[in-house]
């Protein structure tokens, strides 16, 4: 096991004016680990995710990432904006809840998936296309749709394009915000299964924000329960779900209907 965590978070706090969105969040994330963050709406999960993924500068606290060339660096203090944006395009991936936020609707699905390659200098059309098609297979998209625009795709298919678009650059860390939100239950199940398989195959680490405990049960190794901006419990997913200690965790778990 390596001694350096992939992501080290300490004292992460974000305020909107005087309203506390998240307070004093800290954890280490190791390569290949999936961390789930659950809680009700307004618990601060999305704000936390935005701070972690450099989309928002937190009011207090640090987020350190183990870069390929410089080791653990503070992503806000030690990286310039171009470096952060480069990180977001290569080593990191973000899968948005709404595919429209993560895709270019005016560009074909193939163009969307291949963009990251072209952004870092890929200049051979044939090779790019081959790699894109390979990823279409891996996310179980029909190859015939490569030149179609994503606005004609179903929600589940749009999410698959988003996933391929991010994974093609072999990121080491993936941020997912409600990846199955708004999808039909059967579509959710297939997408989760795909994510599970890809995470295992690629060894990517991930932070998944969701209000759906079924998603974390399936995807996450570790779980953080948030309420009112605070982390009330964290530990192994199966432990937190099967033996919740905090009153709020117990409430959350007992609220799921067992079908």
């Amino acid at each position: 096991m390596s001694d350096t965590p992939l992501l080290r978070v300490r004292g992460l706090t974000h305020l909107y004016g005087r309203a506390v969105a998240c307070r004093d969040v800290g954890f280490d994330l190791w390569p290949g680990e999936v961390l789930g963050i659950v809680g009700e709406s307004g618990a601060g999960k999305t704000t936390l995710l935005k701070c972690l993924s450099a989309q928002l500068v937190p009011t207090h606290g640090t987020v350190e990432y183990d870069t390929r060339d410089r080791g653990l660096v503070d992503i806000f203090a030690a990286l310039s904006e171009p470096e952060r944006r480069m990180l977001l395009r290569t080593d990191w991936g973000i899968v948005h809840q709404n595919p429209r936020d993560g895709l270019r609707m005016a560009v074909s699905a193939g163009g969307n998936v291949g963009e990251r390659l072209m952004a870092v200098g890929a200049r051979h059309y044939g090779n790019i296309r081959r790699e894109v098609l390979d990823w279409f297979d891996r996310v179980e998209l029909n190859r015939d749709r490569i030149d179609d625009r994503p606005d004609g795709f179903s929600g589940g298919m749009q999410q698959r394009v988003q996933i391929a678009r991010n994974l093609i650059s072999r990121p080491r860390l993936l941020f997912l915000d409600e990846p199955t939100g708004g999808l039909d239950v059967s579509v959710q199940a297939r997408l989760l299964d795909l994510l599970r398989r890809l995470v295992a195959e690629t060894g990517v680490a991930a932070v998944v924000v969701t209000h759906d405990l079924g998603v974390v049960r399936l995807l996450a190794h570790r779980l953080m329960v948030m309420r009112g901006g605070e982390v009330v419990e964290h530990g192994l997913t199966d432990q937190v779900l099967d033996d919740p200690q905090h009153p709020y965790s117990q409430l959350l778990v007992s609220s799921i209907l067992q079908v």
Binding site: E81, R85, R104, V107, G111, E115, R116, I146
Partner: protein, 310 residues
């Protein structure tokens, strides 16, 4: 310095240096129409543009006596750099005799009193809409392009804030995506004009709607190339001998247009040809778009022909 007219009818607005002196200028207007403060502002923008090849410099575009979309940017740039000893040529799609070219040339003849010409070789300052002259330019010449949309990334990103950031951070993956989309849809890069280029290895620039045929002419050109977009309020420039490379893919390299016909008038096989419909029965002919180039070729062929027969 009179122009020859071997087989062509005389041009109506041909003028000589002597005829257009201070006496020919409109009274009540500053030299070249713009006030000196405006010229100073535009010159500062031009200097900045020259210092950062391909970078779009915002400038305070003025109201000009012609509407947006008719070359106000080009006119403002020309007005800022033109001097009384300059010889001005104005072309529109390669021709000196279209309405726009005629109007703009008259405008400067009247407000600056400068000499004008149709011959590329004689001009010191050339304002152009959508073509680069076929005749190679020389050091000391200035080419002013009229630009409708200066932002090459606008097709994908409507936000100015975002495109500025993309240029600042050289995030140009999307430009390559555009070319990818062309190949995916048409089997080849279908962009035929306003073909994106990389200037000095750094900024991606919209060269204005010149045909891609003309792109290679921009590369390491001895002349100064200035670009003015009046409606969008941007100026950019390519200093002499600067690298200008058209974007492409390794397996789909940049290539210019080719015709399987020669110019019907002068026989040129290496110039950009316009297709002219001649009758209702589908008859057509191809002519050089650059009228001066064509006329020059015919002149020299005519001279050769005369010499040849003697």
């Amino acid at each position: 310095m009179s122009d020859d007219t071997l087989t062509l009818p005389p041009r109506e607005d041909a003028s000589t240096a002597a005829a257009a002196g201070a006496a020919g200028r409109l009274s009540g207007y500053n030299f070249a129409y713009l006030d000196e403060q405006t010229k100073r502002m535009i010159r500062r923008a031009l200097l900045k543009a020259i210092a950062i090849p391909g970078y779009q410099v915002p400038f305070g575009s003025r109201e000009m006596p012609l509407p947006y979309g008719w070359g106000t940017g080009g006119i403002q740039v020309t007005a800022s750099v033109i001097g009384p000893d300059d010889v001005l040529k104005v072309i529109d799609q390669g021709a000196d005799d279209t309405t726009n070219a005629v109007s703009i040339r008259k405008f400067f003849a009247r407000t600056a009193g400068v000499a004008t010409t149709e011959r590329t070789t004689e001009a010191t300052l050339i304002q152009t809409r959508h073509r680069i002259p076929e005749t190679p330019l020389k050091e000391g010449q200035i080419l002013v392009y009229q630009v409708p949309i200066p932002e090459p990334l606008r097709w994908l990103e409507p936000r100015e804030t975002e495109t500025r950031r993309m240029h600042a951070l050289a995030e140009y993956g999307v430009m390559q995506v555009k070319l990818y989309e062309d190949i995916a849809r048409y089997g080849r890069i279908a962009t035929a004009y306003n073909y994106p280029v990389r200037v000095n290895g750094r900024y991606i620039m919209a060269p204005s709607p010149i045909p891609k045929f003309d792109n290679p002419k921009m590369h390491r050109n001895p002349a100064i190339q200035l670009f003015g977009a009046g409606r969008e309020r941007r100026i950019y420039a390519v200093p002499p001998y600067t690298a200008v490379e058209s974007l492409d893919f390794e397996d789909h390299p940049f290539a210019v247009e080719r015709w399987d016909q020669a110019c019907a008038l002068c026989g040129a096989t290496d110039s950009f040809l316009d297709e002219i419909v001649t009758d209702d029965a589908g008859g057509r002919m191809f002519l050089c778009s650059d009228t001066d180039h064509c006329a020059e070729r015919r002149r020299s062929r005519g001279a050769d022909a005369q010499e040849g027969t003697t």
